[in-house]
């Protein structure tokens, strides 16, 4: 194929995605494109997101029609230099074989794995073959799919693991010790079971506090920490969110709670609410969430602070927050002061790694390089 022509394709976000709907173009045909530019909005049954450009050029063709569903890897548009003749682009479009590409994407789709650890049977995903290990640790009530926009980008340079913490996702619904130390011990048990001696820990929200706790207690096994919308850095947390998440049993109650996670509440699709309701109904989940919120976030106060002890170490630290985070104030990102690389990203809420995945991935890649 012509290397001067860069296709814009339907992305594959998460293992179960086989198709997505184009909801709108953010750049018109003929627009100049730079890496990181948001080009086209796509919605799946799970989540709405944005396809970002990885190259420089001009958006020469807009092919994906709004409100139309396309398979993964379908050609949505073309980016190329102005110097590339129209005839070459037309030939590229004519030859592009969506079906074959989608089949290839299906074949390469990795499966989830399960491993028995002292904290129970844990589910995880593993991508990439790089020398460095990266472990992605989700937050309270989350699961490994919270990293669906990040795991593949990081896997280009590292061996990336994303786990479901005990009591979360498809891991066993039990949790012996709901403190940060208990969760950190579970994480170290996971690393032992997979013979991961040392890793870069990337944690979101409660997962950030777990990463920091682990760096303090087992410094030799932590190459760096990335704390995203992280707990453990400041005194308060939005109890309306944590308590609301624990208590909601219906879609009507849960949806407004979940809307607090995002800068744009429209991101919360019916499927996202349904998936979380299905998770919350599983036997044992209510007990785990109640225990965690009681141990870590009772009354809107964070029980455990890791910022000060972490600031006293020399563990490399990257701190990322969404400027409009409604769960944990973005100001907490400054807690490590000059000790850390800090970035507060505009236009993102608590789920900054989903809402501004491109920028978050760049920051993590630079941090672990």
């Amino acid at each position: 194929m012509n290397e001067r022509i860069k296709p814009v394709v339907m992305p594959k976000w998460g293992l179960s995605m086989s198709e997505g709907k184009v909801t709108g173009w953010l750049k018109p045909a003929g627009a100049a494109i730079a890496p990181g530019d948001e080009i086209v909005e796509v919605e799946t049954d799970k989540i709405a997101g944005v396809v970002e450009a990885h190259e420089t050029g001009t958006l020469r063709r807009v092919i994906g029609a709004p409100d139309t569903v396309y398979p993964v890897k379908a050609l949505l548009g073309i980016i190329a230099d102005d110097a590339v003749p129209d005839a070459e682009i037309d030939a590229y479009v004519a030859e592009y074989a969506t079906q074959a590409a989608a089949e290839a994407a299906k074949e390469e789709a990795p499966r989830y794995h399960f491993i028995d650890t002292p904290a129970g049977r844990l589910r995880y995903a593993r991508r990439g073959e790089g020398a460095e290990n990266v472990i992605l640790i989700h937050g309270f009530g989350g699961d490994l799919d919270n990293w669906l926009f990040n795991i593949d980008a990081l896997a280009e340079v590292a061996s990336v693991y994303a786990l479901d913490l005990p009591g979360h996702g498809q891991s066993d619904k039990k949790l012996a010790d709901p403190s940060l130390t208990g969760l950190s011990t579970a994480l170290l048990g996971f690393m032992d079971a997979l013979a991961i001696d040392r890793a870069h820990l990337v944690g979101h929200s409660m997962g950030g506090a777990i990463a920091a706790r682990t760096a303090l207690d087992a410094a030799g096994r932590v190459a760096s920490v990335t704390l995203i919308g992280s707990a453990g850095l400041g005194p308060e947390i939005n109890a309306g969110y944590t308590d609301g998440f624990v208590q909601a049993t219906s879609r009507r109650d849960l949806k407004p709670v979940l809307e607090q996670l995002f800068h744009d509440p429209e991101t919360v699709t019916r499927q996202l609410v349904d998936d979380l309701l299905k998770y919350k109904r599983l036997d044992g989940v209510a007990e785990v969430l109640t225990a965690l919120s009681g141990a870590l976030f009772a009354g809107g106060r964070q029980a455990e602070r890791v910022a000060e002890p972490l600031a006293a170490t020399d563990v490399p630290a990257l701190v990322i927050a969404g400027a409009s985070d409604k769960v944990i104030p973005a100001t907490h990102a400054q807690a490590l002061g000059a000790r850390a690389t800090v970035e507060v990203i505009e236009g993102a809420g608590h789920m900054v790694q989903m809402e501004k995945a491109g920028r978050v991935n760049e920051l993590i890649l630079a941090h672990i390089a």
């Binding site: 498809q170 619904k173 219906s250 879609r251 019916r270 299905k278 599983l282």
Partner: protein, 340 residues
């Protein structure tokens, strides 16, 4: 990762998981083991359509094949519940309830009330409901309204495999008598069902499709029919919201009212006969409590006021169809979508 299993398998799995969790859960019914004492019982049928297949091999004599006397074993199940067990009785066809009405209406449904809240009766009565199975008038009725009418009974009718598992687990854990209605035409329908146990709370309707022009309310088989109708309506520019009641008693009025307040139009679909049905119940409740929101008279799509015909051609006409639902919606909107 999706794990697609059928409605029938989901019910079997719910029974198995609850029997493993709680030693007081026992099963009674006709042929649920498949002929206790007979050769081949470990792999026998397990009920008339095989719903309990395999459970005898796992749980042994906690499954009991009963004589062909519904009044006897439904009474036994209710008595066992009053004495601390959690029996699940399989009644084959809901149509056969007639001979055990006293045990259900006058005993099970009344204990909690008449003993001042001190008695509990955690019994589940499972039975097949609905038409479309070429089983004629005595094996095809949708008698859900009869049980919904009785205070003290809970009435459940799942529309898909995911709900069937979670609602049955909730039914077994519930301390009140539950009539669990399984639509035989849905036994083969598949959904993504978690392997783990989960309970779906009663009294919480499921909005299975969002819409803004008309609210379609159904349960059981009428939910997939309403979804098919909504697909057709979408092609003519009408956006239909589809509500699955899931439990008929208790019933989730709030979800229905909130939806009608948004759409202004209501079509209730009920496979039961039309008089004193869920259709009349929902239509009347909405007319009384959301009259100001209605832009058109509520419509009802039901079976006719006749027995279920044995003629396949007539039986197909008997069950509310997607076409009939579309036609009823058009009565509320006019043939072309109104400017509102």
């Amino acid at each position: 990762m999706a794990r697609m299993i059928s409605y029938k398998q989901a019910i079997n799995e719910a029974l198995d998981l609850e029997m493993r969790r709680d030693p007081t859960v026992i099963l009674l019914g006709e042929d649920i083991v498949g002929g206790a004492g007979a050769p081949g019982e470990m792999d026998a049928w397990g009920g008339v359509l095989g719903v309990t297949k395999g459970l005898h091999a796992k749980h042994g004599n906690r499954l009991m094949d009963t004589p062909l006397s519904e009044s006897a074993y439904i009474g036994a199940a209710i008595g066992a519940a009053a004495c601390g067990m959690r029996p699940v009785a399989e009644l084959m066809f809901l149509d056969f309830m007639g001979v055990c009405f006293d045990q259900i209406f006058n005993q099970a449904a009344k204990f909690k009330y008449m003993f001042g809240g001190k008695a509990k009766t955690p019994v589940v009565i499972r039975a097949m409901v609905g038409a479309g199975f070429r089983a004629a008038a005595q094996h095809s009725q949708m008698l859900t309204p009869l049980f919904t009418h009785i205070p003290g009974l809970k009435v459940v009718c799942p529309s898909n495999a995911y709900d069937a598992k979670g609602l049955l687990i909730q039914a077994i854990r519930d301390d009140d008598p539950v009539i669990f209605c399984e639509h035989k035409a849905l036994y083969g329908s598949e959904a993504d069902v978690p392997e783990e146990s989960y309970a779906i709370p009663f009294g919480e309707a499921n909005i299975v499709r969002d819409g803004k022009d008309v609210t379609l309310v159904g349960y059981g088989l009428t939910v997939p029919r309403a979804l098919a109708a909504a697909d057709t309506l979408a092609r003519s520019g009408i956006s239909a919201e589809v509500i699955d009641l899931r439990t008929l008693s208790p019933i989730d009025w709030d979800t229905v009212i909130e939806s009608v307040e948004n759409t202004g139009r209501l079509v209730v679909i009920d496979e039961a006969n039309p008089r004193c049905s869920l259709a009349t119940d929902v239509a009347a409740y909405v007319a009384q409590h959301a009259f100001g929101a209605l832009k058109a008279a509520p419509q009802m799509v039901t079976a006719p006021h006749t027995p279920v015909p044995f003629s396949p051609a007539l039986e197909d006409l008997y069950i509310p169809s997607a076409e009939a639902i579309v036609a009823a919606v058009h009565k509320t909107t006019g043939p072309v979508k109104s400017a509102a």
